[in-house]
C-alpha cells in the first residue's frame, strides 16, 4: 500500500505581516499541518511571479502568497502594486490550466495568527483532496534532471 499523499506547499510572505502572523501562530501554540515551507520577503512588492513558477518547478503542489492587508503595508503601498500583479498573474495561471486551488493569495496581518493556522490547514486539506499536481510533475520529469541548485 502506498503512503497517503502529503502535498508540498510553499508560502511567499512579507516579513511585516504574514511572517509575523505565522510567528504569532507559533507563540500561541496553534497547530497546523507541517506541509508548508515559508519564504520570507521584505514586502509583497518583492514577490515576483517567477517565485511561483520556481516553486512549481521544485514540485510544489500548492503555493500561497500572502502579505499585509491593504492600507497596512510597512512600505505604504507595496501591497497595492502586488495586488495588481497577482490579479494579472492569477488570471494567467488559470488560463494556462493551473487550478485555482493550487495558487492562493491572502492578506494576513501580524495579529492574525489564527487566520494563518486555519488557512494553512484549509489549503493543505484542499490540496490533499485534489491530489498531487501530476500534470506539472510530468513536465518536470520530462526535463530529465533536477534543476541545478
Amino acid at each position: 500500500m502506498s503512503e497517503p499523499f502529503e502535498p508540498k506547499i510553499v508560502a511567499f510572505v512579507c516579513t511585516y505581516c504574514t511572517y509575523a502572523g505565522a510567528d504569532l501562530a507559533g507563540t500561541s501554540r496553534l497547530k497546523y499541518p507541517s506541509n508548508v515551507r515559508i519564504v520570507r520577503l521584505p514586502c509583497t512588492g518583492r514577490i515576483s511571479p517567477m517565485f511561483i513558477l520556481k516553486a512549481l518547478q521544485k514540485g510544489a503542489d500548492g503555493v500561497l502568497v500572502s502579505g499585509c492587508h491593504p492600507g497596512d503595508c510597512h512600505f505604504d503601498h507595496g501591497n497595492y502594486h502586488a495586488r495588481r500583479r497577482w490579479t494579472v498573474f492569477n488570471s494567467l495561471l488559470q488560463f494556462a490550466g493551473v487550478p485555482e486551488e493550487r495558487v492562493r493569495f491572502s492578506w494576513i496581518s501580524a495579529a492574525e495568527g489564527r487566520k494563518f493556522a486555519e488557512l494553512i490547514s484549509e489549503i493543505t486539506e484542499d490540496i490533499r483532496r485534489i491530489g498531487p499536481f501530476e500534470q506539472y510533475h510530468a513536465l518536470i520529469a520530462e526535463t530529465g534532471s533536477p534543476a541545478p541548485l
Binding site: 505604504d76 507595496g78 502594486h81
Partner: protein
C-alpha cells in the same frame, strides 16, 4: 568556496522537544558548502554565542545559519555575534524552526523533516549572501518648518532653543495662522492674541530662526539629512529692510474696500497692507491683484508717502536654495466651503456666519472691536443659533470625519456671547457633544449650566428669513418633535478640511495623503509624527483636525524627532536597498513610478565628450527603504535588492 556554519538551537525543550536536532545536524553536516554543523541548548546564551564566534574564527566561516527562533526575535543578536567574530553580519541568516516549526507541529518526524528543509534552503540562500555595510550619510543640521501657525512656530522654537538652525517658511505676510484669528481659546478663555503674539515675536527674533514670510516651498529634492529645498520669496513690492512699519502707506492707499482675508470678509483692508495689526513682521506687502498702479499704471501714492523709499514696484519673485536636514510640515487646515449647505442659507443671508467669522466678531482686534454685531445691519443679536457638525460627520454632503474642535468652540462662542451680552440667548443644535480633553467636559457643561446655552439634540433641516429675523427649523430628537427658533444670527460650525493645495505639497515632498488630503503619518499609533519619507515630520492640523494643545504637543514631538536626528554627525542606514544594473536598464521608468519613496532617479549616461547616450534608473541610497517593489516590476531584472537578491531567493526556493 562557501564555508557555512550551521548552528541548531534546542531552545531548551522548545525546539528539541519536537525536533530531533541531532538529525538536523546530521542532515546538514554533509550538505555541500557546510563546514560545520552543531547543536546546543541555548545559542542565544553567552556560551552559545561564544561557540558561534569560536567556530567563525576557527573554521574561517563565510556564512552562518542559526536554526532557532524567529529572526524577529534574535536575528540582531546573532548578527552582532558574527560581527564580533569578524564576519559581516549580513552573512548570517536565521532558520525559524521554533515559531514556524516545533511550536506548531505535533508529529516529531514531520517537524524534524521540516526543520531540515527550512535550514537547508537557507544554507542555499546564505551561500549567495554578500557583505553589506551600513550606508552612512551626513546630516545637515538645519530644519525647514513649513507653516507659521502655532504648530510651526512651536516646532521652530523647540528646535532653535536646542541649538538647531531653523528656516521657517510662511506663505502669508505674517506669522500666526488660524490661531491669530481666534478671539479667546477653550477651555481657559485666555485671549488668543495674548498667548500667540509673544510666540510670534520670539520666533521672529530668535537668532537660530530664519523667518521667510510671504514665501512658499517650490521644490524639494534629496533625502533625510540631505534635502535641497527651493523656496519662492514672493514679490512684496516693499523692501522689508527699509520699511519701518509706520503704516502711512496703508493710511493713504486709495483701495480701501478689499475684503480682509484675516477678518473672513467681515472687515476691509487696503491694497498695501499687513494681514492684521499685530503682524510679525509688521511690514506691509502690496497685493498686485488690487493695487491701482498694477491695474491702471497710475497711483503710486504709497511710494510718495513712504519716507524710507521702501516701495519698489519693480520687485520680482526670488528663489532661495537651501540645504536642509529635516522638514517639519505644519501647513494647517482650511474651513470647508459652507456654500455646500444651501439649507443653512450661508451666502444667501448675511447673518449666517461661520465659526471662524464669529471668532473675528468676538475678537477685540476684529472688525467690530469685539462687539458681536449682525453683519447685515450692525444690530446686536439677542438670540444666536449655533449649528454644530455643519459639514463634519456627514458622508453624504460634507466630510465623514469629526472635525474635533467644533463642540468645544461652539460652547466657547455661546459663553463669550453670554459674557458680552447678558440678555443673550444661545441655542445649539448638536449631534453629540464630544468634549474629551483636559477640562473640556466641564467647559461644555459650564456653557449649558452657567452661560445660558440651550442645547438641542438634532439636526437643522431648513432656515429662512422672516420679518428681518432668521427662522431655524430642526428636530429635537430627545423630545421627538420639530422645533423652530427665531434667531438674529446663525453660526455654523463648519468642518476642518485640508489646505486646498495639500496634495500638491505632498507630491513635492514625496509624502502621502489620506483620502481627504490630510498628510499621512508613517504609522497611526506608533509613528504618528513621522511620514513614510524619512526625515519629514508632521505637526498640527495638516495631519488631521486638531485643537491647539494637540497641535502644540505634536509640534514638540516633531521637533524632538528632528533634534534626535541632529544629535548625530552621520546617519547610518540599513544596507538592504535596491541597486540598478545600468548596463541592462532600458530607462522605462516603471520602477520610478512604482517606488513608494521616490527613491529612484533618472541618471544620464554620457560619452567622453559629455553627450548623453541614454538615461537609466539610479537608486538613491538615502531614500530607498528596501521594499523591493521596483525589483519585481523590472522586466529585464536590472534592479536587485541587497539582502533579498534575485540570486539569494532563487537559491532559497530551489533549495526547498
Amino acid at each position: 568556496m562557501a564555508r557555512i556554519g550551521v548552528f541548531v538551537c534546542h531552545c531548551g525543550e522548545n525546539i528539541a522537544g519536537r525536533v530531533d536536532c541531532s538529525k538536523v545536524v546530521l542532515a546538514l553536516e554533509n550538505h555541500p558548502g557546510v563546514s560545520v554543523a552543531t547543536e546546543y541548548k541555548y545559542f542565544c546564551s553567552d556560551p552559545g554565542q561564544e561557540a558561534i564566534k569560536k567556530a567563525v574564527r576557527e573554521e574561517n566561516l563565510t556564512g552562518v545559519i542559526v536554526a532557532a527562533c524567529s529572526p524577529r526575535m534574535h536575528e540582531a543578536t546573532f548578527r552582532k555575534a558574527c560581527a564580533a567574530a569578524g564576519l559581516n553580519p549580513y552573512l548570517c541568516e536565521i532558520a525559524n524552526i521554533r515559531e514556524q516549526c516545533s511550536w506548531v507541529h505535533e508529529n516529531p518526524d514531520e517537524a524534524t523533516r521540516k526543520a531540515i528543509e527550512i535550514t537547508r534552503s537557507l544554507v542555499e540562500k546564505v551561500k549567495r549572501n554578500s557583505e553589506l555595510h551600513p550606508i552612512e550619510v551626513p546630516v545637515t543640521k538645519r530644519a525647514l518648518v513649513i507653516g507659521g501657525g502655532i504648530a510651526g512656530i512651536q516646532a521652530a522654537l523647540d528646535i532653535a532653543n536646542a541649538g538647531g538652525e531653523v528656516v521657517l517658511v510662511e506663505r502669508e505676510a505674517s506669522l500666526g495662522g488660524h490661531m491669530a484669528q481666534l478671539s479667546e481659546t477653550f477651555p481657559t478663555l485666555d485671549c488668543s492674541q495674548c498667548i500667540m503674539t509673544p510666540r510670534m515675536v520670539e520666533a521672529s527674533q530668535h537668532p537660530n530662526i530664519r523667518l521667510l514670510t510671504y514665501s512658499e516651498v517650490e521644490k524639494v529634492e534629496g533625502f533625510i539629512g540631505n534635502f535641497r529645498v527651493r523656496v519662492r520669496l514672493k514679490a512684496r513690492y516693499v523692501d522689508p529692510a527699509a520699511c519701518t512699519g509706520c503704516g502711512d502707506c496703508m493710511q493713504k492707499c486709495p483701495q480701501k474696500k478689499i475684503p480682509s482675508e484675516f477678518d473672513c470678509g467681515l472687515g476691509k483692508r487696503t491694497a498695501i497692507s499687513t494681514p492684521f495689526a499685530q503682524a510679525v513682521p509688521n511690514k506691509p506687502v502690496i497685493d498686485s491683484r488690487y493695487c491701482t498702479y498694477f491695474k491702471n499704471g497710475k497711483c503710486k501714492v504709497c511710494e510718495k508717502v513712504c519716507q524710507t523709499n521702501a516701495i519698489n514696484f519693480e520687485m520680482e519673485d526670488e528663489f532661495l536654495d537651501l540645504e536642509i536636514g529635516a522638514i517639519v510640515v505644519a501647513t494647517g487646515f482650511q474651513v470647508q466651503d459652507t456654500a455646500l449647505y444651501g439649507e443653512y442659507g450661508y451666502g444667501r443671508y448675511a447673518d449666517v456666519v461661520t465659526g471662524l467669522q464669529f471668532e473675528r466678531l468676538a475678537s477685540a482686534s476684529g472688525p467690530t472691536a469685539g462687539k458681536v454685531q449682525r453683519p447685515s445691519d450692525g444690530a446686536e443679536p439677542k438670540t444666536v443659533v449655533f449649528i454644530q457638525c455643519a459639514g463634519s460627520r456627514d458622508p453624504a454632503k460634507g466630510v465623514p470625519y469629526c472635525s474635533k474642535i467644533c463642540c468645544m468652540y461652539t460652547a466657547k462662542h455661546a459663553m463669550l456671547y453670554a459674557h458680552k451680552n447678558h440678555e443673550a440667548e444661545s441655542r445649539i443644535f448638536y449631534m453629540d457633544i464630544r468634549a474629551a480633553g483636559k477640562g473640556y467636559d466641564e467647559f461644555t457643561r459650564r456653557a449649558a449650566e452657567e452661560d445660558n446655552a440651550g442645547y438641542i439634540r438634532g439636526r437643522v433641516s431648513k432656515l429662512w428669513e422672516e420679518n428681518g429675523r432668521l427662522v431655524v427649523r430642526g428636530a429635537d430628537t430627545l423630545l421627538g418633535r420639530p422645533v423652530e427658533v427665531q434667531a438674529d444670527m446663525v453660526v455654523l460650525a463648519t468642518a476642518m478640511v485640508p489646505q486646498p493645495d495639500a496634495r500638491e505639497l505632498a507630491k513635492k515632498l514625496g509624502i502621502g495623503c489620506d483620502d481627504y488630503g490630510f498628510f499621512s503619518e508613517a504609522h497611526m499609533k506608533l509613528r504618528p509624527v513621522e511620514t513614510a519619507t524619512a526625515g519629514i515630520f508632521l505637526a498640527g492640523a495638516c495631519q488631521s483636525p486638531k485643537d491647539i494643545p494637540d497641535s502644540v504637543a505634536q509640534a514638540s514631538a516633531a521637533a524632538s524627532k528632528v533634534l534626535s536626528l541632529f544629535s548625530r554627525e552621520r546617519l547610518e542606514r540599513e544596507p538592504v536597498i535596491a541597486r540598478n544594473n545600468e548596463a541592462t536598464c532600458s530607462g522605462c521608468w516603471g520602477c520610478v513610478l512604482a517606488c513608494p519613496f521616490n527613491a529612484i532617479e533618472k541618471k544620464d549616461l554620457t560619452d567622453r565628450s559629455g553627450n548623453v547616450l541614454r538615461r537609466v534608473a539610479s537608486v538613491n541610497a538615502g531614500l530607498c527603504q528596501g521594499c523591493g517593489t521596483c525589483v519585481t516590476f523590472c522586466r529585464s531584472n536590472s534592479i536587485d535588492l541587497a539582502g533579498f537578491s534575485e540570486k539569494q531567493l532563487f537559491a532559497e526556493v530551489m533549495g526547498l
